[in-house]
Symmetry: C3
Subunit: 212 residues, 3 copies
């Protein structure tokens, strides 16, 4: 065990906050797709917990945290209830939701990388799983909603790159034996800030050269 | 190990019956989507075994039962052959197929919850996995067929709720140390009856308030 | 451990070659779907490593080889770079890409079956997982790209059947204690040749009788 980024209770509170905003994005998509309240709950759970679930199954940490921590499981239900009753109001603060989503992205790419390394994976594989932790839930959300994953679309602001950078910073810190609460926090903030900048200035990634 | 719901051989026969009707629904969707006979077999296998596969991977019961019991694997192939040769006749008895599907739903939400609890998960997590066992195969079927999962759509009769109730009854029984063959049977029948009623009276779940 | 098909280093080189051509097919689809370079990399990784990942999670061989061998992980990135810069040229040699893809199909159905059997699965289950190893990545690719999996479509040349035959030959060889480098090679070549013939003569599989 490397360490916890922060004290365990702070870490847990941050995890729940990240899960909550991811769940909001799932529930909002469910409303746009005209799903019923159970479809909203399913999409909220999958968006919020799917990335960590993938990581835990791959590293053999079963049963996954999503199924052993009741708070992880119930938080998306709270988000579902909120969107169910206050959908227009939640839509109206979409900008704030996006900022929190960026914070969740930064947090999960860092904790995901750290947990994978703790389970014995190499640095590159750990960073890849950190990325999967951060973006996997959103991909599953879009697949279940029968949409092209927004992660893959060229007309969306950069989403994977901030998570790759955050996970990469963690891997480099581990490599040089410099991962601690401070450097972990720096990695989270770096990914968070990059995502905010990508949204603010509509950074896009290039497509293949010479497409027909 | 809590217990088997019934004697092992009865349990196994029920499992195979449930797998068979789920496989029929997969093969029928494959015909509607104009897939070839191998696409039918893939969709039948995934529909019938996908939910249990998800559960087993999550609880760490690998290799999953789907790959260790030859009967589980071959039953969907029999269903595929039946639909391949007698597709119009099977379509004509769609009503009966739906009744058996409801029975499979009731059975699998109960056995899934029980198996997850046997592997050390908490009551809420066990009930969630019981639900996933019962509905997971159908979701995978729709995702592979590139359709919006019918589980999530508001214009479909309630499907998740009967399974949630069935899994919940099992969890409550375990909590009060009252799970046995009789109470398990009650849970199966409750879920089965709720699903039949939902189909008969076209019960729907509500969508979010104040959608635009 | 049954054996390696060939010497370990030859086996590894063949694996990387198979991963490379599968990744090319993922990156090409990403270009056709208008994804950006990160979408191309994700689709290349999933296509190339998804089948083996599914197999390893099911048989409990975690962390999967995809995350422990740096070569497996980086090869799809090389394929992505190639398609990114030279997309029109790669499209122009699509015929050659298809031939190599057929070789990858043959190779992976054989190594997948062998690995599953080595982890204690029965012969039928091992052959099924060999098939899943060979075709799983392509199915995940199409699901992520929000397309009907080309594996399931009747208007595509046979793809599953050559892999089933290859996996079946391996299972029969194991059954009669005759699996060695030579018979494994025969299984690879059989699947490879069948796929080439299926492409050359546009072999299709039948659809259900008496569709409306």
């Amino acid at each position: 065990m490397l360490h916890d980024l922060f004290t365990p209770s702070v870490q847990h509170a941050l995890d729940l906050a990240g899960i909550f905003v991811f769940a909001i994005s799932g529930a909002l998509l469910a409303v746009r797709k005209n799903f019923d309240v159970f479809g909203m709950a399913v999409l909220a759970e999958v968006t919020a917990l799917g990335g960590g679930l993938l990581r835990d199954v791959v590293i053999g940490a079963v049963p996954p945290a999503a199924f052993t921590d009741l708070g992880y499981f119930s938080t998306p239900l709270v988000a579902t209830a909120l969107v169910f009753f206050l959908h227009p109001q939640v839509e109206r603060i979409q900008g704030a939701v996006n900022v929190f989503d960026a914070a969740g992205l930064g947090l999960f790419c860092v904790t995901g990388t750290t947990k994978a390394y703790d389970h014995g994976l190499g640095l590159t594989a750990s960073a890849a799983l950190g990325l999967a932790t951060a973006v996997g839930g959103g991909v599953l959300r879009d697949v279940l909603a029968n949409e092209v994953p927004s992660l893959l679309r060229w007309d969306r602001d950069l989403y994977a790159v901030p998570a790759i950078v955050g996970a990469g910073v963690v891997a480099v810190c581990i490599r040089f034996d410099a991962l601690n609460g401070v450097t972990s926090g720096v990695a989270v903030v770096t990914a968070f800030a990059l995502r905010l900048l990508a949204m603010r200035f509509h950074w896009r990634a290039p497509r293949a050269w010479n497409r027909h």
